[in-house]
């Protein structure tokens, strides 16, 4: 598989997941499982699963409390003015959580499929205008800056005695300080970079050379996986229409 194929495959599965209903999501999850097994494999597959669960579980728990526990009706029932039921609310929560899980899982799977390549190498191989690739690298660099800011702010607040490394009441009370410190760190880091280093080096212009090139064609393997994803997406829609009817 090529990076171009990976990006198209992820896009197809994500769009299909957004459009699919509860039973359609099951079909798409099955397609993603086949991709994970055949193309990604063992430890990476489990890592992607773990990360997707880490994102989905807190949201699902929160939605369960709000929609099933407190509201007791699904949003579409509220819109229709129907009495509603907790069962419908549960189906709604499962659908949203399943959709989020699937999206994160697919993104992780495609990312881990190309884990042997560096970010710059991956983006360089994409068939896209250099301006779009540059935008992609800048966006990813901001994500990286935020991740670094999290680490830096966390260390500062632990050293300052404001947080602890493990779970604690202190962390619960002072978590907002961590959030504020992360943003302050990120903003000042980016400011320092774009004020001093980038202007004198013209650093961003280096990306044009570094990102030039890329494979224009999809490989036969790419075409096969994309066709399978489209078929799964179509099946998910048909099943959805059938259930609705």
């Amino acid at each position: 598989m090529t990076p171009n194929g990976g990006v198209v495959l992820a896009a197809v599965l994500i769009v299909a997941a957004i459009l699919a209903g509860p039973s359609g999501i099951v079909i798409l999850a099955a397609a993603a499982t086949v991709f994970a097994t055949l193309e990604v494999g063992g430890a990476s597959c489990l890592a992607a699963l773990r990360r997707a669960l880490l994102v989905m579980v807190p949201l699902a728990a929160f939605m369960l409390i709000v929609w099933v526990g407190v509201v007791g009706r699904a949003p579409q029932e509220i819109a229709a003015g129907a009495a509603g039921s907790r069962q419908a609310a549960l189906v709604y929560v499962a659908t949203v959580a399943g959709r989020l899980f699937l999206i994160v899982w697919v993104v992780q799977l495609v990312g881990l499929r190309f884990a042997d390549q560096t970010v710059l190498g991956f983006v360089r191989m994409l068939h896209a205008p250099v301006a779009a690739k540059r935008l992609m690298v800048l966006t990813l660099s901001l994500v990286e800056t935020l991740r670094h800011s999290v680490d830096r702010a966390h260390t500062a607040l632990i050293a300052g005695g404001i947080l602890t490394r493990g779970w604690s009441l202190r962390n619960l009370a002072n978590g907002w300080i961590l959030m504020q410190t992360i943003w302050l760190t990120a903003v000042t880091t980016v400011t320092a970079r774009i004020r001093d280093k980038w202007p004198v080096e013209d650093t961003v212009a280096l990306l044009d050379h570094a990102l030039a090139g890329g494979r224009a064609r999809l490989s036969p393997g790419d075409v096969g996986w994309i066709a399978a994803a489209l078929a799964a997406g179509l099946a998910a829609q048909i099943v959805g229409w059938h259930v609705a009817a």
Binding site: L120, S141, I158, G160, T164, R165, V200, L206
Partner: protein
């Protein structure tokens, strides 16, 4: 032969501003290595391999080799996760294979260990490209020299600072068979043991990337050891589980230690975490300390201060007396000789008042200014070479 220029002068003499102005006036872009990661690395990449690929010039420039950094094991590492010295070496490697015809280095070489510093200076001295250098520890003889006169701002009131330091009843730290590896398997410590006595300044030394800052992070609880034990005054001490209550840390990059946007906010949050132990840290006393460091108001926005001033403000919390142990990671980075001399005297006073001090420095000149016990981190262990109290 290309131009090699050293910008010499004390802190706040305008050297850094002049260096950046020189670069902005150049017709062609130049490579810049600033004093901290934000200004040493591009910030555009997430691996060492990508950082090198970004700067790779076509065609390659005829440059002397720079073999000071073993890049073989670092290709997948995030540039920001490297130690300060490794980041500077990476930046120099990037320049070495770039198409830039000039490089400017602002105090960054001060983060290098002696061997790497010699290699880096030899590389910059090769004459194959233009160089502009600010360094508080050396002005190469054969280079053009541009002197800057002392400015008026940020004068430290050292006697007042010394008066403000309260007495402490420090306790010994015993580290026994400490093991630590970063995620990914890089082993930093293996059965490392050391005992640190209060009232003494301990210098942690070792090559760039040996684990000096990691050791400090373990003691403040920002990292948890895989095995081993730390005792404070004979009692088990687990800051990674219970929180840090014994160490005041001044980080290598001062911007990595702030807990608020202003000094007042930063101090208020630290004091709140200390609870009843913070009674002696009232605003009036902290203002006095800040004034002695030439900061007029606690409401000063930390990020608006010049870098050398921020570095000095980073000493404030360790000197506040809230913790019996003081940790200083490259405390003299970017500081001129006069400041380093006075700061060495201050550390002596602090030790005499019962504090334990651990400092990390590659600045042999500064280390020679104060009596200390040298600890060497090497081969995943901490040893105490025969030399003491230089």
């Amino acid at each position: 032969m290309s131009r090699r220029e050293a910008l010499a002068g004390p802190n706040f003499s305008g050297r850094s501003a002049a260096l950046l102005a020189m670069l902005r006036e150049r017709a062609a872009p130049a490579f810049f290595v600033g004093p901290y990661a934000e200004a040493a690395l591009s910030g555009l990449t997430s691996s060492v391999a990508d950082e090198l690929a970004l700067y790779h010039g076509e065609p390659p420039q005829p440059r002397p080799p720079l073999a000071a950094l073993d890049l073989a094991g670092l290709a997948r590492r995030k540039p920001q996760s490297l130690s300060g010295g490794e980041q500077v070496l990476l930046a120099l490697h990037c320049f070495a294979q770039s198409a830039y015809g000039a490089i400017a280095v602002d105090t960054a070489l001060e983060q290098l260990d002696p061997a790497n510093r010699v290699a880096a200076l030899a590389f910059l001295d090769s004459g194959a490209f233009d160089v502009a250098l600010i360094d508080n520890r050396i002005v190469p003889d054969a280079w053009e020299r541009r002197d800057f006169a002392a400015g008026d701002g940020y004068r430290i009131d050292w006697p007042r600072l010394a008066q403000t330091v309260t007495a402490q009843d420090g306790k010994a730290i015993t580290v026994t068979e400490l093991d630590f590896a970063y995620a990914g398997g890089r082993q930093i410590f293996s059965k490392a043991s050391v005992t640190l006595a209060p009232g003494t300044a301990h210098r942690l030394s070792g090559a760039n990337g040996a684990g000096k800052t990691t050791f400090l992070k373990l003691l403040v609880g920002a990292l948890a050891p895989d095995a081993g034990e730390v005792r404070l005054g004979g009692e088990p001490y687990r800051p990674w589980r219970d929180g840090n209550g014994a160490f005041a840390l001044a980080t290598q990059n001062p911007d990595q230690q702030w807990c608020g946007a202003t000094l007042r906010e930063d101090l208020a949050r630290r004091r709140q975490a200390l609870g009843t132990r913070a009674r002696t840290l009232e605003d009036a006393r902290m203002s006095k300390l800040a004034n002695a460091l030439s900061i007029e108001s606690l409401d000063a926005h930390l990020y608006e201060l010049p870098l050398a001033a921020r570095k000095r403000v980073s000493w404030l919390w360790p000197l506040a007396g809230a913790h019996p142990w003081i940790m200083l990671d490259e405390p003299t980075l970017g500081q001129d000789r006069a400041t380093r001399e006075q700061f060495a005297r201050l550390i002596e006073i602090v030790c005499a008042r019962g504090y334990g001090v651990i400092f990390v420095t590659h600045d042999d000149e500064f280390a020679a200014m104060l009596p200390h016990r040298r600890l060497l981190i090497e081969n995943r262990a901490i040893s105490s070479p025969a030399q003491t109290a230089e």
